[in-house]
Symmetry: C2
């Protein structure tokens, strides 16, 4: 009855599931929320490794703030600016904010590109930025192609209120989840056959959840593709400065410089300080478009989610300090590198491989060998064991619409070293307990996978014997299966988070 | 060609005029932007009286901030909270922020109502809050009824991306622009005849642009109306604490307490700190709904425009301080009262009347007697003289879809006393220069109007002789005229401002 009543008086958007919070993927978050780990107060609690936070460099920021009290409008040194900032509501943003962000974006891309402050449009985090951009580029019913696995928050951010569809095309472990022109072309043609208007492609670079960055050839292929089809290329580069290992990060902004024949009106970058600087609370989202009309329209729309002028003011001061930015970028990459190195090498010791990544705040962990059955159900079964018994919240690949069961995204930068080691101990103990006979470890160029034989001694899960990976690499599980149709409600940013 | 090209690759929303910035009403803002007044540097520049800012109480806020450095995460006293706040992205908001805002909303309504912190949903300013609420309540093509004159920003905020229509119903000077059940009923029935689904009524209380607050009977009438029709009542109360004179402010939240038969699921309040505290830069918008489903859905949508956690933290501390809030509310009302009193009494001395108001940051000034002809064109002609010769930017009534030409909204709280006096001198000089024979001054209960005979000695404007006010009070100029159809692009928040 309540449902009927709601549908009668509320909107379709308010009464559909486009927010994505009703999916079972939130069970892991609920488990964490019910019983969060704390080193002294709740040492048996669930450790949160489902949250792509970056907590590694706050000492640098707070040290800077204490040395620069004029960066705050609430200090003795800055309060004389309070009124001017409090009443500031120009949707262009503070000029010094736009300049500082543009400069930071350039430095985050090794100064291979100069970003024009006049093209910087602010928005409420990457969440607001991506929705705003889609409102500019596509009508309800139009579609964007997106390589899977992809960040499930896109299903809400890009679709819920815009009415735009996402059509995933498959990346598979057989080539380390690289985007192929064949998969892209095929998805494009399928859409045309169904009379769906494809308005563009959206990619995350570096990728969430893969932790890898696109190479130049792939970016060139994408640019050529959109140019030929006269559709858009949206590059979500919110993990740009997290590239902690070679090859260095290559932005679409860099590649497009060498492709003068490509229509730049079709190219747009999403950015934010939520991942690169670890400040999602401040809601600094950026749209950088080469299309003048998109810049002016997105700016007009930004009134729905401007960045607080208090925050603009502080960020402007922080990112205008060249010395700070230089030090921050070096330190951040170094700390991420070491954290990643420690985590993956410890996992390797117990036979757990990860896709070889060089970026982001997580690894794409390969547990295919631990699956009871090579299905989404099998993956979720293992996932529940990890949550309830290993007491770690990780994100199953199916929540990212991955076509191959058995992959998990595990975040490693949202905790201190000690907590990470507790998590590693738990994983180690879980694998050791369950393992009787550790057979050959197979290492390929990019992934380390383990074939493990495990006795069925644990009632809650039955691990498969002699599991054959090839079955997944052939892509038997399609992202177009009825279970995970791109048009059905998709997993979102976990519960109450804007983007994870 | 560019237009065709844009329409081909961009969305309909991006290529229509729903943002409203192409309207001539922005000429006043452009004039100000080209030549802004400054007491010493540009004393002949244009004075900005088109901006509903509240600058009167910043001394209280900055004094408090200096005494409470722990309210900032950038100070020595608060920086230990920096990381926790920077990574905070729960869309429920900081619990202390919600509590403080709920308490402030209660105090701003003389503690006649208790607001439940769990119903406080934040959003990017009133702009984001109002759009979010409409996304929850109505489908594209549905309509909301709105009494005119009304805040032109609604045309963008409520319609542009939601696809919802606004249907104005006329309020006229004959009863001091009060909402009548007849006008409401008639607009509702007209819409039904046109097969338009009416989903609700939206009112601003206190009114922008009138500067008056709704009385209890009107609120009861509105509640009864929506209850009978099973449609929504949205009350925009962003000027709640600006009620500086009796009668005291009555919120819909207070009235609904005495009407238990009314379905509370239909009642929603919009709030913000942009006007009451004068902080539009901080983008603190609030949706307070009595409908549980709207609360949960709006909260999910708030991810597109959350309030910066840095700002939440500061506002939470500020508004949790009962002593500060008490002092602020008393002082703010007192200063607004005195400012309003000074401005209107000086205007009265030169024969300019205003609708008798007791709230907001502006007056609704009656210049009908100065019109050359009683049309929108005549109003705009006078307006251009005011901008270009008197060098004051005010907002013409037609930009608020007022049905009677000759009314202007004039803001008085966005400047210091000295600037206000310069503006008054200019108006005085303009009226004196133009006036030869000042005939009878007519005073009605609520408005003071002047019939003025003026020699046609100024080429740029020809003031009418012996002008008959009745012509407008009969409502000859319909808001449904082709010039200002509610379905054509409407004036928006001036140029780059989120809401004015």
């Amino acid at each position: 009855y309540k449902g009927v009543y709601d549908r009668e008086i509320l909107s379709k958007i308010a009464t559909n599931d486009g927010h994505g919070e009703n999916l079972e993927y939130f069970d892991g978050w609920k488990a964490y929320d019910r019983d969060p780990y704390h080193s002294t107060k709740n040492s048996n609690g669930v450790i949160q490794m489902g949250l792509a936070e970056n907590q590694l460099c706050f000492d640098l920021v707070t040290e800077w703030l204490l040395k620069n009290p004029q960066a705050s409008i609430c200090t003795n040194e800055g309060v004389n600016k309070f009124m001017d900032i409090a009443i500031f509501q120009d949707y262009h943003g503070l000029p010094e904010f736009r300049s500082a962000v543009a400069k930071f974006m350039g430095k985050a891309r090794d100064e291979k590109v100069i970003f024009n402050p006049d093209r910087i449009v602010m928005s409420g985090g990457a969440t607001g930025a991506s929705e705003t951009l889609l409102f500019c580029l596509a009508n309800p019913g139009d579609a964007f192609l997106i390589p899977s696995p992809y960040c499930p928050a896109f299903n809400r951010d890009l679709r819920w209120r815009t009415g735009v569809n996402l059509i995933p095309f498959t990346c598979s472990s057989s080539n380390n989840f690289k985007i192929t022109k064949e998969a892209l072309q095929s998805a494009y043609e399928d859409a045309l056959k169904k009379n769906i208007k494809v308005k563009g492609i959206i990619v995350t670079n570096p990728s969430n959840p893969l932790g890898t960055a696109l190479d130049k050839d792939t970016l060139k292929m994408l640019l050529t593709f959109v140019n030929v089809k006269n559709i858009h290329l949206v590059c979500d580069e919110i993990y740009a400065t997290t590239v902690f290992n070679s090859p260095r990060f290559i932005s679409v902004a860099e590649v497009i410089k060498d492709m003068p024949h490509v229509n730049q009106d079709l190219v747009h970058i999403l950015y934010s300080l939520s991942k690169d600087m670890g400040m999602p609370g401040f809601r600094v989202g950026i749209i950088y478009s080469y299309n003048d009309r998109v810049v002016s329209t997105a700016r007009r729309m930004s009134s729905f989610g401007l960045v607080s002028s208090q925050t603009q003011f502080m960020i402007a001061a922080l990112l205008s300090d060249d010395d700070f930015v230089r030090r921050f970028l070096v330190e951040s990459r170094d700390r991420l590198f070491r954290r990643h190195q420690h985590f993956t090498s410890e996992l390797a010791k117990i036979g757990i491989g990860c896709l070889q990544g060089n970026a982001a705040l997580f690894v794409w962990m390969d547990l295919r060998h631990l699956l009871d059955e090579a299905t989404v159900e099998g993956e979720l079964k293992l996932w529940r064991v990890i949550i309830n018994e290993v007491k770690i919240n990780v994100s199953p690949g199916s929540s990212f619409l991955c076509s191959e069961p058995g992959w998990f995204r595990v975040c490693f930068a949202n905790m201190d070293n000690a907590t990470l080691d507790v998590a590693l101990n738990r994983i180690r103990s879980f694998v050791t307990r369950g393992r009787v006979d550790n057979s050959t470890m197979t290492t390929t160029a990019a992934t380390t996978t383990t074939t493990t034989t495990i006795k069925k001694k644990r009632g809650q899960m039955e691990l498969r014997l002699s599991f054959n990976n090839r079955r997944f690499e052939d892509g038997l599980i399609s992202p177009h299966s009825s279970l995970l149709s791109p048009h059905s409600p998709m997993p979102q940013s976990p519960l109450v988070k804007a983007r994870t």
